[in-house]
């Protein structure tokens, strides 16, 4: 921002302030004018009522006090009655008309002030100039002060002063109640009016000032309210825009979340498939190993069968069958004489051969049974997942170990079992099996990859109040500390032929079973411990 921009902004702010101040001032004047007019209008109506009351009151008083005047026995309506009706009416009619036709106008309140002063004069006259009636003037002035317009007080005061001056000169008894009065007595009366007016004028001016201040504050308030309303509208618009944006973003996020869930589902599916593939690979590997043994056993059996002495026996049987005189042959013929020894040797060889074949066949059957077990196990774990069932975890661990049983023997891995007594747990068999198989397989590979002489795999199963833990500990090559946090990450692997699916899918499976899978390693060459923790009872799978 350069200097010219600053200057422009200051000018703009200055103009806005000036405009706001001008608006406040104008609005204040407008409010003051409205308020003043309202006060005057209200006062006009009050005086309208007062005029009617004074008129009717004058008539009633005239009818009560001096209804008739008499000339001997002849009564006539008293002059005061006519005066009350007509002169009183004349006095009141103009202010009433003005209050009705032009309420709030300046001329109206001045006409009312004149009329009220005339009413005072009339009452003073009709009361014979009683000094008490003069209080009507003071009361009227106080009443006129309702207008909060000192000019109205001046108008009334001038009329009263003129009345006192004129009547005091010509009819002093009419205004003072005495026939003997100095022509300047009106000045004394006017002085008292001035005395009262001083206070009333001060009161009016103060009232005007207060009302002006109130109007000023109200104008400020209105304009401030207007500004606030405008800001609120602006903020509301902004909020609406933000809400729409958020809604749009929410929809976008929901869509992304859906895609993510879909991807996750597919990933889980692929992970499962990968896990299954690994399991299958392990199983096939083991089956292959066993098949080697089967093949060896079969070849041995074939070789032994080929080397069997059965042809010798057949030949001996042919010799015997061709002899006409078997006893002579056995006793006389030199070949016959060797027959018993030959048969004895032959039977001994065949016995040995049979035992050997039997051993091989038994081994073959055993290996075939082993293959059958592995295949059955694989078949049992490859079924559809999601069924929660009560199962014996130790049995499951044993099954997992059994898959690699031959490999442990082959690689001289000693397996140690530290199993607590466990209750049946409710969980999903296949996922647990997948996890255990992976952990055991990884441990076995880690042990094999290490240079350990004493190869040990330790499985510890413990139980607490609401969960069971399966620890798979090996003394293999271990895990680097910086890789501990990555081992469950999708795609992370330290194996040359690994894909990084196994432990990731195991961790997800553990979470889906409402459990957890953790790893601990002291470092390279110090082995690793994987701990699977599962709740005793899992009613439904957890969301991951």
């Amino acid at each position: 921002m350069n200097c010219s921009h600053v200057s422009d902004e200051q000018d703009s702010t200055g103009h806005a302030d000036t405009w706001a101040a001008e608006l406040r001032k104008t609005r204040s004047i407008e409010l003051w004018s409205e308020h003043r007019k309202e006060i005057c209008r209200h006062s006009d109506y009050l005086f309208l009522v007062l005029m009617i009351v004074q008129w009717l009151g004058g008539i009633l008083v005239a009818l009560w006090v001096s209804p008739q005047t008499w000339i001997g026995a002849t009564p006539h309506i008293h002059m005061h009655v006519w005066a009350a009706i007509f002169l009183g009416g004349a006095v009141s009619v103009a202010p009433i008309a003005m209050a009705v036709l032009y309420p709030g106008e300046t001329i109206t309140r001045h006409v009312i002030a004149i009329a009220q002063a005339v009413w005072s004069a009339l009452l003073i006259h009709l009361s014979g100039g009683r000094i008490e009636t003069h209080f009507h003037i003071f009361g009227s002035l106080a009443f006129l002060a309702f207008y909060r317009d000192w000019r109205v007080l001046m108008t009334a005061s001038v009329v009263v002063a003129a009345d006192h001056m004129v009547r005091g000169f010509w009819w002093p008894q009419s205004v003072y109640g005495i026939a003997i009065a100095t022509p300047y007595r009106w000045i004394e009366h006017v002085w008292w009016i001035v005395f009262e007016n001083v206070f009333l004028v001060i009161s009016c001016l103060r009232g005007q000032r207060e009302v002006k201040e109130i109007c000023q504050r109200r104008a400020d308030l209105e304009i401030t309210n207007s500004e606030i309303e405008e800001r609120i509208l602006q903020r509301t618009q902004e909020l609406d825009d933000s809400q729409k944006s958020l809604q749009k973003e929410l929809v976008e996020r929901q869509r992304t979340q859906k895609e993510r869930e879909q991807l996750f589902t597919e990933l889980a599916k692929f992970s499962r498939m990968a896990g299954m593939a690994e399991v299958s690979t392990g199983i096939l590997h083991n089956v292959g190993n066993v098949l080697n043994s089967v093949n060896v056993s079969a070849n041995i059996a074939i070789d032994r069968l080929r080397a069997s002495r059965v042809p010798t026996l057949v030949k001996a049987a042919d010799v015997i069958s061709t002899q006409r005189n078997l006893p002579e042959f056995l006793s006389d013929d030199p070949r016959g004489k060797n027959f018993p020894r030959l048969l004895k040797e032959l039977s001994a060889n065949l016995s040995l051969e049979r035992d050997s074949q039997l051993d091989e066949l038994l081994s073959l059957v055993k290996n075939i049974d082993h293959i059958t077990d592995i295949v059955c196990m694989q078949q049992s774990f490859s079924q559809i997942r999601g069924n929660m069932e009560q199962l014996d975890l130790l049995e499951l661990v044993e099954d997992a170990l059994k898959i690699d049983d031959a490999a442990f023997v082959r690689h001289n891995v000693s397996v140690t079992r530290n199993f607590d007594k466990l209750p049946l747990i409710q969980t999903e068999r296949h996922s647990v099996m997948q996890i255990l198989f992976n952990l055991i397989k990884n441990a076995k590979q880690s042990i094999n990859d290490s240079q350990q002489v004493d190869k040990r795999l330790t499985l510890t199963v413990t139980c607490d109040e609401d969960a069971v833990s399966v620890q798979v500990r090996d003394n293999g090559k271990g895990i680097e500390p910086e890789n501990l946090s990555k081992v469950f990450t999708h795609g992370f692997t330290t194996k040359q032929e690994g894909h990084g699916f196994g432990l990731h899918s195991c961790a997800l499976a553990a979470q889906r079973l409402c459990g957890s899978l953790s790893v601990h390693s002291e470092g390279i060459g110090l082995g690793a411990t994987f701990t699977l923790r599962l709740p005793l009872q899992t009613a439904t799978l957890c969301k991951v």
């Binding site: 006090v65 005047t69 008293h78 003005m98 006259h125 207007s226």
Partner: protein
């Protein structure tokens, strides 16, 4: 910020102003005239007789002076004490002020005159016609005798034609005060007449003894009366 619209204060159009000014001028004239007429009425004294005719034929008869107690009066003159007569129309509203002023005068006088109040009563009307609040007020004045003046005969004899007329007779029978003691119709307050009567009742002399009377007429026309 929305711009505020300003309302120009409403004013009266010139034509209306002219009409209003004219109307108010007329109104002012009416008020002044009415006030003047009312003041004039209030200041207008009633009729009075300086002398009265000896018979009904007013124009043809010899006139009798009223400076002395009329011998034809049914009210006897008592020369031992001064007498203050007051003639009242019992239904005259203006005379209430006269009675209040009389009470004021009597309360400030050293001489205690015999007070006689004569209340007009038309012919054919019962005496109760005269028993109004004025009658009651006069009853409260000490040493006061009240008479019903049938058809204003006594008033005529004394030459009093207006209610509120007071006459003061000294012990020698001469009339030393005649007139009303209010300064207008129904107007209370200090007046030369009241001052003069006060002076007389206090034994002082006064240069003027005849004053106008403000009140209702007791006798409309003196020619209808028969002089005694």
């Amino acid at each position: 910020m929305s711009k505020q619209t300003l309302h120009k204060p409403s004013g009266l159009k010139t034509k209306k102003r002219v009409v209003i000014a004219f109307s108010l001028s007329c109104w002012g004239v009416v008020l002044i005239a009415g006030t003047f007429a009312l003041a004039n009425y209030s200041s207008a004294p009633g009729n009075r007789l300086e002398s009265r005719p000896t018979s009904e034929k007013y124009e043809a008869q010899e006139r009798i002076s009223l400076d002395k107690w009329p011998t034809s009066s049914v009210i006897s003159a008592v020369l031992e004490r001064p007498t203050l007569l007051i003639f009242l129309h019992p239904r005259c509203p203006c005379s209430r002020a006269s009675l209040r002023e009389l009470a004021s005068v009597l309360s400030n006088s050293e001489i205690s005159p015999r007070v006689i109040a004569l209340f007009y009563c038309p012919k054919g009307e019962p005496d109760s016609w005269a028993h109004t609040d004025l009658w009651s007020s006069m009853e409260k004045v000490s040493d006061c005798t009240l008479y019903v003046d049938r058809d204003g005969e006594e008033a005529f004899k004394f030459g009093a034609m207006t209610s509120g007329h007071l006459m003061f007779y000294a012990t020698n029978g001469s009339r030393s005060f005649s007139g009303g003691i209010t300064c207008g119709r129904g107007h209370e307050g200090e007046s030369p007449a009241k001052q003069a009567l006060t002076n007389i009742l206090n034994g002082h002399k006064t240069p003027q003894i005849d004053f106008p009377v403000f009140g209702c007429a007791i006798i409309s026309r003196p020619t209808t009366r028969e002089a005694s």
